[in-house]
């Protein structure tokens, strides 16, 4: 059973988003025309190819999910075409039907061994032929359902179920990758650590249901403040969010953080207990702080941002704190500084 209560063993809705495209391959123009008529009348999009090579080129340009191919063709026969299709990676499964007048046991076995899913005689009735197409469609729908379920699970594994923002696991993994990329190829990465001011009071006064509504709305407001392609946000704690800004200097990060802070402060959040206004405190860190960028790690940047977040809380909340502007920090410094600051502002953070 999944977190949202859906039984994940029952996700196999056998529907495809659109009718599959059928590619018919035969070296006989009349056979192609007849099959095209039949398959089109059955409601499928159809493309045709006169040779195996032409079929492969068409598949590469725009994949078809069902291929109906003749067995005996000059140059590349149906068996070779099956093997070539199976040797390639396509966006989805390609269901192959061998359609031939040869129906001896050895031909059928050779066809199935070459990768065909079905083997039909050209003497087959139109009714049986279209029924076999429906079978192909069911198999493709099953594959589609499984892929959708897997994609849903992949999304669930990297997103926070409440807010839809990325989760801490995703943050740790992807922020680390972005840091390494920037360290190797140059460029800046900045981190904003954002914490809701007095969030405990929201929960205590209005209940956790209202607290959840506030967090959901907050995630949406943050998302609107981000640049679509390069910035992203993760919920890494109860009411704590990390905003990763690629290619952004500390000064630019400061401006963006201020915009986020102001937008949140100016937002009225509708809840069953009435409209609420919240504020956030933000601490910033970035690769730019490090004189030797190789020493920067996810953990260090988080610590730097956390120190600055504490500083924002200490300064009365609803504000943004950048790293010291008087030069780069040494890697040991944040820990010492943090200890001093934590001691100085005991109880400041809530």
């Amino acid at each position: 059973m999944s977190e949202d209560g859906e039984d994940t063993t029952q996700v196999l809705r056998l529907d495809l988003p659109e009718a599959p495209t059928v590619l018919i391959v035969d070296d006989d123009d009349l056979v192609l025309a007849r099959l095209q008529e039949l398959v089109t009348a059955a409601g499928y999009a159809v493309r045709t190819a006169g040779t195996g090579e032409e079929a492969l080129k068409l598949l590469e340009k725009s994949a078809a999910s069902i291929v109906i191919t003749d067995l005996s063709m000059p140059d590349m026969n149906g068996l070779d075409l099956c093997r070539r299709i199976r040797a390639h990676v396509w966006p989805g499964y390609v269901y192959i039907v061998l359609l031939t007048v040869r129906n001896e046991e050895k031909d059928i076995l050779a066809g199935l061994d070459a990768g065909a899913d079905d083997y039909l005689s050209k003497r087959t009735s139109a009714a049986q032929f279209t029924a076999r197409l429906r079978t192909a469609k069911r198999v493709l729908a099953l594959e589609y359902s499984l892929k959708s379920a897997l994609e849903k699970k992949r999304q669930m594994a990297m997103t926070d179920a409440l807010t839809g923002a990325y989760n801490r696991h995703y943050f740790t993994r992807h922020f680390g990758r972005e840091m390494k990329r920037a360290q190797r190829f140059g460029g800046e990465v900045s981190l904003l650590l954002l914490d809701v001011d007095h969030f405990k009071q929201v929960n205590d006064s209005y209940g956790h249901g209202v607290g959840d509504i506030v967090l959901k709305r907050l995630a949406k407001v943050i998302a609107k403040c981000l640049r679509r392609d390069t910035d992203w946000c993760a919920r890494i704690g109860g009411e704590e969010f990390a905003l990763v800004l690629e290619g952004t200097t500390l000064a630019e990060a400061g401006l963006r953080a201020e915009k986020v802070r102001q937008t949140i402060a100016g937002t009225s959040i509708e809840t069953p207990k009435g409209a609420l206004h919240i504020t956030v405190s933000i601490g910033i860190s970035g690769l730019e702080e490090f004189s030797n960028r190789e020493f920067a790690t996810v953990q260090l940047l988080l610590e730097h941002a956390d120190v600055n977040l504490y500083a924002s809380k200490a300064r009365g909340r609803n504000c943004v704190t950048l790293p010291d502007s008087n030069g780069s920090l040494e890697i040991e410094e944040p820990r010492d500084r943090r200890l001093k600051q934590v001691n100085a502002m005991q109880g400041a953070k809530s």
Binding site: L30, E37, P74, V101, S125, A126, F129
Partner: protein, 128 residues
């Protein structure tokens, strides 16, 4: 477009393709006779074309609902295939027997194509 008019359009297309198939089969019979003549004069390279034409009749005949035509095409295809697969093993007597069989099957095919032009396709093919 109503389902009826769509159906009649499909039927008209099907009828047209059937006519084309029978016309082509008639032309194929003439070509097969010519190639048989070349084979009779010792030109065995014509066998490859015989096999190709016969294979096409074999497959399309079945698909268009003419099992008799398909079977006759299949018989010619098998004869050509067998001879091509055993190029050096055929004696003069076997060559002569092969040619006789090819001629017989071709005439049988001609008869069936001619008869099919005056009858409806069988319900066994995809046209039905």
């Amino acid at each position: 477009m109503t389902p009826c008019s769509r159906e009649s359009q499909v039927q008209a297309k099907v009828d047209s393709l059937t006519e084309q198939f029978l016309r082509r089969a008639g032309a194929d019979v003439i070509r097969l006779r010519e190639m048989n003549e070349r084979i009779r004069h010792g030109d065995l390279t014509a066998l490859e074309e015989v096999e190709r034409v016969a294979h096409s009749i074999h497959g399309a005949g079945a698909l268009f609902g003419f099992p008799g035509i398909s079977a006759a095409g299949g018989a010619i295809e098998r004869l050509a295939e067998e001879r091509l697969a055993n190029a050096s093993a055929f004696s003069a007597t076997q060559e002569s027997a092969l040619l006789r069989q090819l001629l017989e099957c071709t005439e049988q095919l001609a008869h069936r194509v001619n008869a099919a032009a005056h009858t409806e396709p069988s319900s066994a093919g995809m046209f039905q």
